[in-house]
Subunit: 342 residues, 2 copies
Amino acid sequence: MHKSEYLFSQKTVTCYFDAEFSHLRDLVKDASIIIVTDENVFNEHAKKLSVFPVIKFPAGEAFKNQTTVDHVIGELIKLGAHKNTFLVGVGGGVVTDIAGYVAAIYMRGIQFGLVPTSILAMVDAALGGKNGIDVGVYKNMVGTIRQPEFIFYDYAFLATLPVKEWINGFAEVIKHACIKDALLFKILEKYSLHDYQTDKTLIAELIEKNVEIKNGIVTQDEFETGERKLLNFGHTVGHAIENLHSIPHGHAVSIGMIAACNLSVQMNNFHANDAAKIVRLLAKYHLPVDVETDHEKIFEVLKMDKKRKGNGVQFILLKNIGTAEIQFIGFTDLQKHFKEIV
Amino acid sequence: MHKSEYLFSQKTVTCYFDAEFSHLRDLVKDASIIIVTDENVFNEHAKKLSVFPVIKFPAGEAFKNQTTVDHVIGELIKLGAHKNTFLVGVGGGVVTDIAGYVAAIYMRGIQFGLVPTSILAMVDAALGGKNGIDVGVYKNMVGTIRQPEFIFYDYAFLATLPVKEWINGFAEVIKHACIKDALLFKILEKYSLHDYQTDKTLIAELIEKNVEIKNGIVTQDEFETGERKLLNFGHTVGHAIENLHSIPHGHAVSIGMIAACNLSVQMNNFHANDAAKIVRLLAKYHLPVDVETDHEKIFEVLKMDKKRKGNGVQFILLKNIGTAEIQFIGFTDLQKHFKEIV
């Protein structure tokens, strides 16, 4: 086990790498730990988790809602959880979002830690302190930004991760490469998903690299006034598509990134060859590169995006592979290009 | 209109005194204002408020819950509220708590301001950034601590405040005097509720003084690690009583303060004469000084109090009138004294 510390506005977050779940108790002194997880993760790892009280909820994005939050809060009350209780979310992005949100609001805030068990949660969802739930079709419409005490990387959890979840996670890895790291992009071109699934050193290195990229951005701009917006690359159109079609987050982001690439070619002098490279890399990692969709409906949802500002939206466009920028695009302009980009 | 600024950890909060509601728009530049209020306040002040879009919910503590939060969030979505929307809560403590909480979680946080319309909200609920909702019998079980941009004091709202709400608010005024300000205690002994209801200068001075006391404490200890706990004087037993009996917050706090005074006499060398003075002052301001209650049930609810720490609770006891301190009291000790103090 080794660790990296990241300084946020209100606290230092410690990331423990190559860690083992059994060491968790040593990290949380004098506090009673309660685990929050979903039924899938619990069924796979019941023995590991059951040394602590466990609150479970059904797996899947459909349960990232207020009903689940009400359930977790009800269970915390039943367990007599108090200000000194330490909540630990063990699971994928839905679990880490719910755990962080409940910890932010229960008794006006209790301490929490995260044990991400999917690639997506390890490289993205568990990092940066954003938490929350969906409201109807609107993704993450409600939530807070609040950092955990720690993030705990036990790669043993990846052994039971389904292939489709590996693919899902690589969308965010490719996103990081596109907006911040041309070298990472080349490395991803060199290896394959199969390489990462079978080589423990390779995946450990990749995850640490991605933690560094994301935390590097978020520590600079925790409350998303500038730099942090770059992480929304692919997520504006992506979220809208995810709302309307029941497809995995990574798939939606893949299509969203291609839309943003096309828009970057049209409006930001991004080279068409580079856009093509990104499409090839996404396809190589088994991510979808197009979708049949209702453009008008998507556009309606997009208008309610959190990144909306008056009569347009702050879009993340590429300049080169590895360099992104924020551009305000009016809805009228966007609508003009919309059918060609998605 | 004149103002005082208070520096909190993340922002400066401006209190505008002797202000007029019509000046609200000048304070919030380049943002679209949405008002949140309850039906009572709206019915009394419909004309004043309707220059902005208004979200209403039924009045009363019974509506300080998740259902109301869901309703307000649904209305915000319908109104197309975005990151740049400015939420303004106009009302008593329930409204200011709901407005602050929704602003904290909608789109992971939007700006907000408060226009308290009751004595209780003016001297207490609107100040300090605590927001939240009740969960079943548990008061403020869910919420956050997050400061508004401003608090706006338009005393014209007091003209329509029912007498029982004046009485309700004076419980917190007397609390401030007991824990922090012996001189204020003497002033309260000198005047009567009727004096404050009829003399505009007197009530304006009293409110400013109480804003100063509360903000003085909260700016020192925003996240309640020490000093701020003093404000819980009367609220430990008070909240438990409020949960079990449908009585106004001020009534419950009055009885809770008397319980804390009795405990202070028994365990903290607080003078019995001073305890008697406090009982007389509460009675003078028409607050109840005893209640028929089920001691065992109260004790059960008290065990779930947010101020619980392991096998006891952090109780606020008086040393003198104007000086309070935090004492940990084990549940076994507390139970021993319990029937004599409540």
